[in-house]
């Protein structure tokens, strides 16, 4: 059925009529509005002339129409502007654009802003942003000049504006010193813009985490419809000076499609399948990869389920058993099962063999925190669901989403061969950790 347009308040129309069209189109990001879950604008920043916040009315309209917060369209056209928004941590970041610009450019930038906030404040919540509004403003000022990204690299930003810490806040209030850097970040000018110079550590260490996620859809009968492995290598490098690292794999052929941090030398990878790079200082994502879908993906858990509703009865049966499968002898931990039960379900009366479960009667969300799977005694959740009296039997059985973690295992079999450092004299401490997680892991019942 077509969506009928919702009438716009007449005040908005009047405001639009009075507005004159700007002669020259200004590119890129014009303004940014931060909107919280209850639909209030709690921060605005303009990089060019001020755009009235009434432009957000179009966004609010879309918000009202959306059944779920995620369903708001990312790009919303209005008569004079375009609104591009991203939703993270229950905050909408709404960018106002005046003319043609690649939408991904804006979306990617907004996500970068969120990442930076998270990096600076630990969390990216409304409260954190409001508490640090001055730092937020200083950051936004540095990240965009006239709407065009200027410095988005976290290493550079941290030199320009020091992240707030409790100690620094105290010191600053006493001494009156500032959290704004006095020098131009050296990285900005060097050939390695992602790394600052003059880094010094007493303990030189480099840690790499190989984290793989399994995305899968398992059908009713337990056979795999689609399964993929996506992996990342996150690094935490604290090394003095300008170290030049190389990282090689035992089986680089596994990597089907990769994307690199800008520091990785692409030609070296093309020729020798070796990662060669001067690392940024601190935490960064070195690599994300995709394991070719031709390889069979080992599915580490299986689910036995029996969820049924009988016609005419106000009771439904719910049985779920989890078990390990192809885990290479490693334990499956932090298992969390969640499922969106049909609307007709009023309540669930279940009995878990381990862990705890909750059922929210409003959102109909069932979640079961299982913990570790013990292969000797498989965890199960059994019981009954009560249905709305008189309601007909739901068409579809719910989909089950599963989260889990397996330590010390990269499910694809990827192995790091060696890590070498050149360019500096000291001996660094090196460490590599493997982990497998469930990504979007769904079981259809």
């Amino acid at each position: 059925m077509p969506n009928h347009p919702v009438p716009v308040p007449s005040s908005v129309l009047a405001a639009l009529k009075n507005k004159t069209i700007h002669l020259s189109a200004a590119k890129m990001i014009h303004s940014l509005f931060l909107v919280n879950a209850s639909g209030d604008i709690f921060l605005e920043k303009h990089w060019k002339s001020v755009v009235s916040r009434s432009v957000c009315d179009y966004f609010f309209e879309a918000l009202e129409r959306a059944t779920e917060p995620e369903n708001v369209p990312p790009v919303i056209p209005t008569p004079h502007h375009y609104l591009i928004n991203v939703l993270r941590h229950r905050i909408y970041f709404v960018a106002v654009i005046q003319s043609e610009v690649p939408p991904l450019f804006v979306i990617e930038f907004l996500h970068r802003v969120v990442d930076t906030f998270q990096d600076y404040f630990g969390v990216c919540t409304e409260a954190a942003i409001k508490d640090n509004v001055v730092v937020v403003y200083e950051l936004l000022e540095e990240m965009l000049d006239n709407g065009f990204p200027l410095a988005t690299e976290s290493n550079i930003l941290k030199e320009l504006i020091k992240p707030p810490t409790i100690l620094r806040t105290v010191v600053n209030t006493i001494t009156g010193s500032t959290n704004v850097g006095e020098q131009l970040p050296t990285g900005q000018l060097s050939v390695v813009p992602w790394r600052r110079t003059g880094v010094k550590y007493t303990n030189n260490e480099a840690y790499f985490d190989v984290i793989e996620e399994i995305d899968a859809i398992i059908d009713k009968s337990g056979s795999t419809i689609t399964a993929e492995i996506q992996g990342v290598i996150d690094a935490c490098v604290k090394l003095t000076g300008m170290p030049d690292l190389t990282l090689s794999f035992m089986n680089p052929r596994l990597l089907d499609d990769v994307s690199f941090h800008p520091c990785v030398r692409f030609k070296r990878w093309e020729a020798e399948r070796i990662l060669s790079f001067i690392p940024p200082d601190g935490n960064f994502r070195l690599l994300s990869y995709h394991v070719s879908s031709q390889n069979l993906v080992a599915i580490p858990v299986y689910v036995k389920h029996n969820i049924s509703f009988r016609e005419g009865s106000s009771q439904g049966r719910f049985e779920l058993t989890l078990g390990p499968k192809q885990t290479m002898g490693k334990a499956v931990e932090s298992v969390l099962v969640s499922s969106q039960l049909p609307r007709g379900v009023l309540n669930a009366n279940l009995n878990p063999s381990q862990g705890t479960y909750t059922f929210d009667p409003v959102t109909k969300l069932l979640s079961w925190d299982v913990g570790k799977i013990n292969p000797q005694k498989l965890p199960s959740l059994k019981g009954s669901m009560s249905l709305q009296a008189g309601a007909s039997k739901p068409d579809e059985n719910p989909t089950i989403n599963i989260q889990f973690k397996i330590q010390q295992l990269a499910i694809s079999g990827l192995k790091v061969n060696r890590l070498d450092m050149y360019g500096e004299k000291y001996k660094p401490f090196k460490g590599i950790k493997y982990m497998t997680k469930a990504g979007k892991f769904q079981v259809r019942t």
Binding site: E70, V75, P102, N146, R265
Partner: protein, 916 residues
């Protein structure tokens, strides 16, 4: 009270700012920034704040800058106080201070300082620090938006900065180029190879801008590589993994790619590995628009990889994949499973995935896809389930092998418990049956049985339409259904009522013995219905089918009109023809042209001169400092290899050029080129216009099969009927007449426009909501001008006006007019202007007074008049130094309307929204 308290608070901020303590000032500034962030007005503190602009404390200074940039526009005079501080800072030895001074200075939007800004930019563009030069490139855009008259000077600066070899500057200056002078492609020639080679080292945001610019550039400079694609199509998957093999293949082909074209493709390819999704998308669109078709598949994996990213990224990438997958199924078919829908996806992601799966369906994989669709139909998200049913319908029409399977599946869905699912199934079955009606009378019978249980109006209407359309296949059931409907007529929804009238009419024509009385009864009910649309339709049908002395020629054709075979609806993707917009752009995402969109030109038939891109190998003087820093860099171990390789490449390509140079033809003149390309463009435009027209016609026929069938009739009758329909549909008879005469002369197409025009007039509200409607340039602008002031009455001054049919730049609701003033007397006329007092209520944007008009000279000015959407004349006084003349402009209705372009889908959507 509140106001008072607010004032007090600002008072204490003011005191803090004026104190001697730095920490107090800083605290005050922080609180002020907090106010700005909340959108509160802090402009009255301007004088107190601006005093601190020269503060030694860097943080304080930065916060003052933030404040200044925000409020300078409102407090221009006070803002000027700060300028000298920045001018001084521009000469500072510290590059950071120079750059930030330029940044703030150029962000102060005060027109008076334009000359100062211009000077500062020119100086900064030659600064030794690349960081300052980068800032200068950013400042160019700011100055341009403040004062477009500076364009010529700014282009000079851009030209200079484009030659810059620093990776820091490249992205920013190309951005400025795109903003200020995107049409000056000639500025790029000499820098093309350098930009290609620098690209990998430019920061990621700059890469996106440069790649988009180079895509446009390449489309004007190279010939199409898409010639003998057919033989390569999809089955030559191996070639691109091995570049040597590829070379060989190329040699055997008559087409030889320009080495510069190859350079661009080669140098952008590594960027597919970027972590920045915008860069990956930019490279993908570059390959889509520039690469030979058989090389395209290298972008597939990267695009599929992006689907792991955030929801918003997925949305944009899926849209682009949807467009690509229509033209090239093979690209994404191996990755089909990546598009399977998860129950946790957002609705718009689900719909896009469904779209792509439908596009990818072929004989081989259809069974897999249909099995997957079966799961989706059961989804709890009913809107999504409905979309799946439509998708099944599309698969069924596209792949004839499965039509019957799909149809049976859909019939089963008719007994589904959910109403939306049933309704959607009925609608889709209706469409499917239209393609092959004869064999399926049992399905129609089945639907007739279900009819009593179906309550969704659209579904009921569809079933009734089917009954009527194929009443000859179900001769026994149809009259019975009509009988039932006669009983419930008054309780039905409007669309159902219309279809009842339709069914009655059709049955009357085919089976008048059984249904004559029933039909008359229904027509009588319809005649007194509350809805004017139904009354009109009833009247129309009665005249058409019941012969009487007044009805004349039309009723003879009644059977032919109503029972004519209707073309089956074409179920096609909403993403068809989306690639008229460059992929990855905002316009593509919205499927309507965004302002500032730069069209991608067609490939030139003959390649323009290649030698324009040749650069002398000699290092240009004037960049010694740069050179030094470069050698310094290459001393560093990690960078040296790539640097050397780059230089090698440069040499290699230049030697290749010298060969190609001798082959290339003589210079084609620049102006020549542009004019020819323009004419090409216009012809292609009109082509597409025509296409659109026929498409729209088709679409209309699907929607209102009974009415538009008249296009098959002789023209005279056609015109009459069309008029009739319009009149009954919209009771704006006088408008219709005045416009339609004008429009019929042009073409049928205008009629469609007209409907949209009228619709817009009716529904101003939805016009503003549905902003996907884009004002378009008029198809035809009359040259005739109207007399405003005769030279006799004007004592030598004569004036003529003309409607330009362009959107008025002075205001949304204004109509733009062009005024030609000429002096036919023998003395100069001075100070020609429009008097301030306007006698009627209209709002007029006056043209700037003309100081002096020489004898026999004439001048053209433009003005805007807000006619308030009425045809009342605008009266005003045209004055010279000595005299005043009352003049008036009376607009024709047509001039008050805004032409719009909309896609077919939008058109039908809008059409559905019109009550009627």
């Amino acid at each position: 009270m509140l106001n008072h308290r607010f004032l007090c608070r600002n008072e204490d901020l003011k005191e803090m700012l004026e104190s001697n303590k730095e920490s107090l000032k800083l605290e005050a500034m922080k609180r002020i920034v907090g106010l700005i962030a909340k959108g509160k007005n802090a402009s009255e503190l301007f004088p107190a704040v601006v005093k601190n602009v020269a503060s030694k404390n860097i943080e304080l200074k930065k916060l003052v800058y933030v404040y200044l940039v925000r409020y300078a526009e409102e407090q221009q005079d006070l803002a000027l106080l700060s300028i000298s501080t920045f001018q001084r800072a521009l000469k500072d030895p510290n590059q950071l201070i120079r750059a930030s001074a330029l940044r703030v200075l150029s962000s102060i939007r005060v027109p008076i300082i334009v000359p100062i800004m211009m000077l500062a930019i020119k100086e900064a563009a030659t600064d030794l620090s690349p960081y300052v030069r980068k800032t200068a490139a950013h400042a160019i855009q700011k100055l341009y938006s403040l004062d477009p008259d500076q364009k010529e000077h700014l282009i000079e600066v851009i030209e200079k900065l484009l030659k810059d070899k620093s990776t820091l500057v490249a992205g920013s200056v190309v951005m400025a180029f795109e903003e200020v002078c995107p049409d000056r492609i000639d500025l790029i020639h000499k820098n093309y190879r350098k930009l290609c080679n620098l690209l990998v080292d430019v920061e990621e945001w700059g890469q996106v801008v440069i790649i988009h610019m180079l895509t446009r550039y390449a489309r004007t400079q190279f010939v199409s590589p898409w010639r003998e694609d057919a033989m390569f199509d999809e089955n030559n998957e191996k070639a691109f993994y091995d570049s040597e093999e590829e070379r060989k293949v190329e040699q055997t082909k008559p087409y030889i790619m320009d080495p510069d074209h190859r350079l661009l493709l080669r140098n952008t390819k590594p960027l597919l590995q970027s972590r920045n999704t915008a860069v990956v998308m930019a490279v993908s669109q570059l390959y889509w628009h520039l690469a030979p078709k058989h090389e395209l598949s290298i972008i597939t994996k990267s695009l599929v990889r992006l689907l792991r990213s955030h929801r918003e990224v997925q949305y944009v990438v899926l849209q682009n994949i949807a467009t690509m997958s229509i033209q090239r199924k093979g690209m994404f078919e191996p990755f089909m499973k990546s598009f399977y829908v998860r129950s946790t996806d957002a609705t718009h992601i689900k719909t896009l995935k469904l779209e792509i799966l439908t596009n990818l369906a072929n004989e081989a994989n259809i069974s897999t896809i249909l099995r997957e669709f079966q799961t989706y139909v059961k989804s709890q998200d009913k809107a999504f389930a409905a979309a799946t049913i439509q998708a099944i319908g599309r698969c069924a029409t596209n792949i004839s092998e499965v039509t019957d399977t799909c149809l049976n599946g859909l019939v089963l869905l008719l007994s589904n418990r959910d109403e939306t699912v049933v309704a959607e199934s009925v609608v889709v079955i209706k469409k499917l049956l239209q393609t092959q009606p004869s064999q399926h009378s049992d399905i129609i019978k089945h639907m007739a049985k279900l009819f009593d249980n179906i309550t969704v109006p659209m579904a009921r209407a569809s079933i009734l339409w089917l009954m009527g359309e194929y009443c000859e296949h179900v001769p026994k059931i149809a009259p019975d259904v009509l009988r039932k409907m006669a009983k419930t007529f008054t309780n039905e929804e409007d669309i159902v009522k219309l279809q009842i009238v339709n069914l009655a009419a059709k049955l009357y024509l085919t089976n008048s013995k059984q249904t004559k009385l029933l039909t008359q009864y229904i027509l009588n009910l319809g005649k007194y219905d509350q809805n004017y649309d139904i009354r009109d339709r009833t009247r129309f049908i009665r005249q058409l089918i019941v012969p009487n002395e007044k009805s004349g020629a039309l009723s003879k054709y009644a059977r032919r009109i109503l029972m004519a075979p209707k073309p089956a609806p074409v179920l096609q993707s909403a993403f068809k023809d989306r690639d008229r917009f460059q992929l990855g752009t905002l316009s593509h995402t919205l499927n309507s042209q965004a302002s500032g969109y730069l069209e991608l030109s067609d490939w030139p038939a003959v390649a323009p001169d290649q030698s324009v891109r040749n650069v002398e190998v000699v290092e240009p003087a004037g960049a010694p400092a740069l050179r030094k820093s470069k050698t310094a860099k290459s001393n560093e171990k990690f960078y040296s290899d790539s640097e050397e390789e780059e230089e090698e490449e440069e040499e290699g390509s230049s030697s290749e050029e010298s060969v190609s140079e001798s082959e290339s033809e003589e210079n084609s003149d620049d102006s020549n080129k542009s004019s020819s390309s323009q004419s090409e463009k216009s012809s292609s435009e009109s082509d597409s216009e025509k296409k659109k027209k026929t498409l729209k016609n088709k679409k209309l026929q699907q929607q209102k099969p009974d009415i538009l069938i008249i296009t098959y009739l002789p023209p005279q009758i056609m015109q009459k009927t069309l008029l009739l329909i319009i009149m009954t549909k919209y009771i704006l008879i006088h408008i219709v007449l005045s416009i339609s005469t004008q429009f019929f002369v042009n073409c049928m197409c205008s009629l469609l426009h007209l409907c949209v025009f009228l619709a817009c007039q009716f529904d101003v509200v939805s016009w503003h909501v549905h902003v996907s409607l884009q004002a378009s340039s008029p198809v035809f602008v009359p040259e005739t001008s109207h007399e405003l002031l005769h030279r006799m009455t004007g004592k030598g001054l004569s004036a003529q006006y003309r409607f330009t049919r362009q959107p008025c730049i002075y205001g949304n609701s204004m109509v733009s007019l062009q005024l030609t003033l000429s002096n036919s007397s023998d003395q100069a006329l001075e100070n020609i202007h429009i008097s301030e007092k306007s006698s009627t209520g209209q709002n007029i944007h006056r043209f700037n007074a003309i100081e002096r008009l020489e004898p026999q000279a004439s001048v053209t000015v433009s003005m805007g008049v807000d006619f308030n959407d009425s045809t009342q004349a605008a009266n005003f006084q045209l004055c010279t130094k000595e005299d005043e003349f009352s003049v008036s402009i009376q607009p024709a209705v047509g001039e008050l309307l805004l032409p719009i372009t909309m896609s077919e889908a939008d058109f039908t959507k809008e059409q559905e929204h019109r009550a009627g």
